[in-house]
Symmetry: D3
Subunit: 242 residues, 6 copies
């Protein structure tokens, strides 16, 4: 089985990190293909960048010319998953939802620790729309920008652990979700530091995508995610950014 | 004052209809500028097209090279308003929210009558995120596609009235919102046929945009809609579709 | 167009303040008529006083013997708007709802800063019933009584700013609503002090009332706000307080 | 112990019916005093009448010059209970809430069958504010006006039973609440006809009021229902209607 | 009338305390029978113990061979009430729900002060299912285990008062519910210390059970709580623990 | 990896069906062990039976004397999962939650089709507590008892398909969950008949349990699901039913 793991930003090193993390949990026989969008922001931290990423991810997936079995959108709190579901017949898994869905099997309430404060409302809104917010104790910002996660991993770790500890003590979280694709790989350390299960959305999404494929399940085409109607669409397939 | 009224699809005749409707209620001294996106679907009826429209609307507004005082996004249930709010310092008004917000001053519950069934969940989701759904009695589909509204206005009128009547009798709606920018101008007839107030999102949005400007109010830049951080963005400003 | 702006308490100087604030934003051609109830409390700060005001406001409006185009009920969190909607055929706008509705176009979440702590639950309840509470970050009390706003405006300003700042930092409000008709005119200073948009319910209500009139929209009479049935009502039209 | 049972309308025969029903379940030693407001509508079926009743009930209770231990407000979906709680130190029980609260001990979901359709939203709103709506399957109108309950009891019974049956079959109600003080005494017959428990708000309220007195519990005065502050109130104590 | 008051744990001294508290408020003619389960934990502080108690309480009630008129399940936040409702034709009252239901007649919001932090989510969940959570300001843990309430009553009192005070000041509770059957009898002191009404679930439940019997009301058998279907059940009637 | 799949009722043939279904999707290297409780009802269709099953499932799992990596509780809408989470250190997956969680990756809304009408509220309540109800379009009863699924599979299929079709057309479900462990194996046929994805909770749970094990994640022990405190528990380990 081949799973496309699509970064939401245009920083290739993050695509590498994500793909590597995905491969670490993939079942034997699962091929992970990391994709970087052709256009968009080097890091996605807000609505404009997220909307641009939504289209860039769809564009990048449509440009992929080999067969594949599932797609993972590896951005936390980002737009666009519904569009991919319309365009494709294979399962689409968003890591925000994968992490929350997994966390809910592990504790009574979970918190998300993300990057900048300005992204918190985006994550909350995506979780609310997904119907996965009721057991969310909090979404907390570490204050680290996406690219700082790579530049200063030690400071990032400390900032994330501090917010995770506050989520546990003050918000009564029992599970922590790592709220950024770029945090892939930090889960084990944070688990050791906080004593609670830590869910990385990328690895959670890999197992969910594999499971859907194995169960022969894919997106319902009966209403919301029906294939777009045949019509004139200017500028698509896209040359945007190329 | 100059208000940009941006169509979400690339059909210019709809831009005309919308702008004309907007001008009919604009205050003396308000200039209405109708804009059509440079790229995107000829009609927006689903998530992929809506996400593409989100970027196309931002692109079109950013390409406008004259000063303006407010922007109206004239698509019902579409994505993107939050991105515009980040990119601009002037008020941004979405017609979905303008209609709901206005309807809530007129009756205890309102319903939306829209085009195709597949767009119903999009409208519901946007109203939920906007915190304007609690008093929504229902979102009902007339079954008419966006372009059919122009092609067969008589059939469209009948289909809309039928659903409006069901919304009143079965869902206990006391106000009807016209759930498509392309329905601009039908409100008076439907009001006469149903006996309840009918809100057209475009005209409602014009008065709200004018009011915000007059009150000296614009988007809060303190958190969610702060200006995007300076960073490298590939493919933007866009050449997409040109 | 003539708009009645009705104070909820019997202190005439507050009526003056409110009417003056309303006139400052009214469109050319809009006449603002400030009305003071014939009976009720000198300041409304609780349920008993608020229920009395509900009837006193209806009584005062019914006693007004000239034509008018809309009514604004200028009390924050007070009862009675629904009754006016039944009695009248012109639009009725409550400043609590006008402020919240306007704030929601400006930021992701808003807070209300009001007078005494005991009025907080009333405001919360009115916003909940109105379906405008979901994006309310908090309702905070400044601790200043209604009449103290006039008696000690400097202390009032400081107390309001302090709570507004806490609403922004702790509750994540992005917009502040001034939660008392008697705070009319403080918005600009508080905006400068806090850096976020500040909504005054009275001015917001004026623009909304004007807009509804311009759009030819008024209260739906089909169900909840139908004209009261003809029946024997003792003590009405009222001589109460005269 | 003496309990005041206050009718919300000015029709004395309904006061009689209610008081008689209350006496039928009162414990030995409980004296039931039926009170009719001095002013207001002969029947309360909407917001204006309900707001007037709110004040009329407070007025009537304050005019009662003997000691008493609790007050029951015998109107379904009416305003005013919170005002009485501020004015008094003894427990105040609203029959809408008494019925719902009791019904929730009897089945998984309950429905209310009331009089006219226009009163349905009032009842729903009061239940929502009271935090008793979650397990409400529906509020249904029998179409019988308050006074018709007395004038044509057979037709009323049939209309109520019909809606109760629909509530059970379609809305999955397991308990029926009689949604009008004037329905007092019909519970036993409707129970026999429908096979489910039927709660009359008046009798439920009597047992709750007695229980609160016996437990030595009364309204918390710490915040929302604190005694009104000393201030100038024009027209109160009221001469309204006298 | 005879009411069974069933302890949820196997510590007989707690049964004594509960029964004594129940007798103190029971009406003349009401006989209170305290029952201790034959099996289960000496104190119930978590899900496993609570599920075991659910069956143990049903088992103990079914083993009672005299007639009775109502059953009170005297555990806070415990499972099982629904099962008893299926097995019996008389009313069943859970003290968690009795306390919340009573508190809602006394103030705008209530808090629960319970034993160990680990029981907080159980209480919250039971209140949510019961539809009684909306006006719950908080559930707070005193940190005292169930058995410590008996062993060190002074320390328990202090710990409970401290949390009650925080609930009032920080969470805006206006009423306190004692969140453990073993706290029976502490209400009067805590009321004096905090100045707000304090509800003990056991005494509240006694008055509710008596009221339901007096009103001739019992569990609806039409759907959720219908008598179990005749079928083969291994190990029941139970020998469990004997 | 070894996964215990525990039936909630005592009918061994259902255990067989469930285990066989589980094995059909289990990954190479996963051993599925089907377990039947030692006591309880032959079919679980209500609260009493469900509470008894909760304890019976815990009892059966604790009596299993070999190592295992995860447990699946194969009852739809049943109690007890939280107790298992306290008693065990390995992941516990309930099929109700597994199915809902999986369905939410496949469509905008899902419905559950279950057995008898009386079990509908149990399923709704479990989904509500699990925070998975928001996107549930409906829970519908086929009217077939659990044992009838085996006795008359053709009638069962027809009844389930009929309700699934109504869920799709009337409730706007886009995915169907099979709401009974005993429906294992029917998914493919129903998918073909209805045209939407059909989720079987047992197979969904197998993939989720495997995924949690692979990700090294298990139940958080920090609060709600902490291991029960050491204390005296009469009648446990259980001899119940043996």
């Amino acid at each position: 089985m081949r799973i496309l793991v699509v970064n939401v930003n245009t920083t290739e090193s993050i695509t590498e990190t994500i793909a590597q993390q995905a491969r670490a949990v993939a079942a034997p026989g699962t091929e992970i293909v990391g994709l970087t969008p052709y256009f968009g922001a080097e890091s996605v931290e807000g609505n404009f960048e997220s909307y641009l990423a939504a289209i860039a991810v769809m564009d990048r997936v449509m440009a992929y010319d080999q067969p594949f079995d599932a797609v993972i959108q590896a951005g936390y709190g980002e737009h666009g998953r519904e569009g991919l579901q319309e365009l494709l017949n294979v399962p689409v898994v968003d890591i925000t939802e994968a992490a929350a869905s997994t966390a809910m099997f592990l504790g009574h309430a979970y918190s998300v620790v993300t990057t900048l404060d300005r992204t918190v409302p985006l994550i909350e809104d995506r979780l609310k729309l997904a119907g996965l917010y009721q057991r969310c104790a909090s979404v907390r910002a570490s204050g680290m920008a996406v690219l700082e996660l790579e530049e200063d991993p030690l400071a990032a770790m400390e900032a994330i652990v501090r917010q995770a500890e506050l989520a546990i003590s003050d918000d009564k979280a029992e599970v922590i979700c790592l709220g950024c694709g770029g945090m892939a790989g930090l889960d084990e350390q944070i688990r050791q530091r906080t004593g609670v299960p830590v869910v990385d959305g990328v690895t959670a999404a890999v197992t969910i995508a594999e499971s859907l494929v194995r169960l022969g399940l894919s997106t319902s085409k009966i209403r919301t995610y029906a294939t777009p109607r045949a019509k004139k669409v200017i500028g698509w397939p896209s040359k945007f950014g190329r």
